[in-house]
């Protein structure tokens, strides 16, 4: 599958050994971004900053310094990460021209190990969507079929990895935004346990479920990137303790108890996805996994819970866009209240406004108990069911999404239909457990299908190990 880049670990060791130059790798990445610009995966490059950093890294190595575990490795960040060298827009008009005053912790940690951010990837504006069609700028094309969406919201990141514009990309996952585009475009998408990676310097969407994670070509690459980013950060008080090493993943599937979530395989699942998932389950069985069926009875409630909690938190997080401190300001306002109304009304796109309105509704006095509190309570039920299922098995599996990548424009007139794309991914965001999408095979027409594997909260290392063994079983 991979034809341009070596495994990340090998790139870094060759750069450190002087066999590859960071400067050449950055140029190679920038050239590919230019050549494949028709896919519209990229919002902007950070080329000046990237070239400067590459030069520093090459000079440091020439002096005999250790340039780090990701020495000279180019990467692409979703445009909701604060990064120096280009605007941070979250693909929204309201943040156009916003220049990061500081960088995200995740970016700083990657840079400290020698990685180089070369570009910012497209997304649904503020990460609200499942196709990149909600980007205020343009829609990214699926790298396998230009008439289809790449998935979303991290669609630009997924397309970048599949097009090999850089060895890896960063995404964010609030309801499936790393895993679903990984499934639609055909790469690895890793959503860590809630709190494992600092969110300082990332544009907030729904704070009780937002996580940061890598999109990459292999599980090993994703694990190495996670290993560099993971762990407590004083700038994000929700960060949790990490496990010792996410890169030592030697494990076989033999005797691993894996439960297929039966509700994910039933009504609503397209036949072509079902066939690929069933055949991938057979391969896991052949590799020695003990497969059984498990149930999460409230699965069909998960999306309703999500589409109350998410807009509620979105409406709160987007309240900071008041036109006074940063972002778009309406010029013609006569007083402060009008300045709020016009700056927000003119600045936000349609989906952001839709979510703010829903969030405002479910949080308003008189409706709070019926919607928000009820959703939080059903969230508890989902967590309990998830934990009960994991008493009998070590891992849970199922599809990532009910369909393969859909045609551009197919769902734009029906926001509710668009929301249904998240139906199999939101539960892990509600529970806070780690979850990965790995390429499981192709449906008719060559469109990729991802298999979702989930583990209990804070068992990221165990999940990555079983994902790597599964990747080998599918090879």
């Amino acid at each position: 599958m991979r034809s341009v880049w070596l495994p990340i670990k090998d790139i870094a060791s060759k750069v450190q050994a002087g066999e590859l130059k960071a400067a050449d790798l950055v140029e190679q990445s920038l050239k590919l971004i230019e050549e494949k610009s028709e896919y519209k995966a990229i919002v902007a490059t950070t080329e000046t900053e990237a070239r400067k950093r590459a030069k520093q890294i090459d000079e440091a190595i020439a002096r005999g310094d250790d340039a780090g575990r990701l020495a000279g490795v180019p990467f692409i960040a979703k445009d909701n990460f604060l990064v120096f060298g280009a605007d941070t827009t979250a693909a929204s008009n309201i943040l156009k021209g916003f220049s990061a005053p500081y960088q995200a912790t995740a970016i700083n940690r990657l840079e400290a190990e020698g990685a180089i951010c070369v570009a910012k990837a497209n997304l649904d504006a503020f990460a609200h969507g499942t196709s990149t069609e909600n980007s205020d700028f343009f829609t990214t094309l699926n790298p396998q079929d230009k008439t289809r969406v790449p998935g979303g919201s991290s669609g630009g990141s997924a397309a970048s990895v599949v097009l090999e514009l850089a060895p890896f990309a960063l995404g964010t996952d609030t309801g499936g935004s790393i895993r679903q585009p990984a499934s639609f475009s055909g790469c690895i998408g890793y959503k860590p346990s809630y709190g494992l990676v600092s969110r300082s310097g990332v544009v907030a969407m729904a704070s009780s479920t937002d996580v940061i994670g890598p999109l990459a070509s292999t599980v090993d690459d994703a694990a190495l990137v996670l290993d560099v980013m993971a762990g407590p950060d004083e700038l994000d008080s929700t960060t949790i303790a990490r496990q010792d090493d996410y890169t030592e993943l030697n494990q076989s599937l033999k005797g691993k108890k894996i439960g297929v979530i039966k509700e994910y395989m039933g009504e609503g699942l397209s036949l072509e996805v079902k066939h690929v998932i069933e055949s991938s389950i057979d391969k896991l069985k052949q590799a020695g996994a003990e497969i059984s069926e498990v149930s999460i009875p409230s699965t069909d409630m998960a999306l309703a819970v999500y589409y109350i909690l998410c807009p509620a938190e979105v409406s709160s997080n987007l309240a900071r866009y008041d036109g006074q401190r940063y972002a778009y300001t309406a010029k013609d306002a006569k007083n402060l209240d009008q300045s709020y109304l016009l700056s927000r009304g003119q600045g936000f796109g349609k989906e952001a406004k839709r979510r703010i309105m829903i969030g405002t509704y479910v949080l308003s006095s008189g409706y709070y108990d019926a919607y928000y509190r009820k959703a939080q309570t059903v969230r508890t039920k989902l967590i309990n069911e998830f934990e009960a299922a994991l008493k009998d098995v070590d891992f849970l599996i199922g599809p990532v999404a009910p369909t393969t990548a859909f045609k551009i424009g197919a769902n734009v007139d029906n926001p509710l239909q668009m929301y249904l794309c998240d139906i199999m991914t939101v539960t892990s965001n509600m529970v806070g457990n780690p979850s990965i999408s790995i390429p499981a095979g192709k449906a008719e027409g060559g469109l990729p299908v991802g298999l979702q594997i989930m583990a209990a909260r804070r068992q990221d290392k165990e999940l990555l190990a079983v994902a790597k063994a599964s990747e080998e079983a599918f090879a």
């Binding site: 309703a304 009304g345 406004k353 829903i358 509704y361 969230r379």
Partner: protein, 108 residues
Amino acid sequence: MKRSLLQLVLTMANLTRDDVLKLAQLARLDLSDAEIEEYIKELSDILHYVEKLDQMDVTGLKPTNQVSDLTNVTRFDEVKSYGYEPLDLLKNVPEVEDNQIKVKRMIG
């Protein structure tokens, strides 16, 4: 049969034009007429969908606010320098005067 309070509230989810205008005012969003018309239908559809939670029996369960398992994360209340100048941090502000953010008059 007596209907629960929850059901009574939820049947109000067919939003009217006035409801949408009220929400837009609460959320400080100036909307066009076309947007208002669109949102009346779309928001009602979404609210109808999430009403399915009404069927769930959650007796004895507590709401989940967050899933980090952390409680009371504290730090020392001290000023730390991260190496940024005030003007670096104010560079995106529309109007600055004496290192302060200038806004429109609030009172009177």
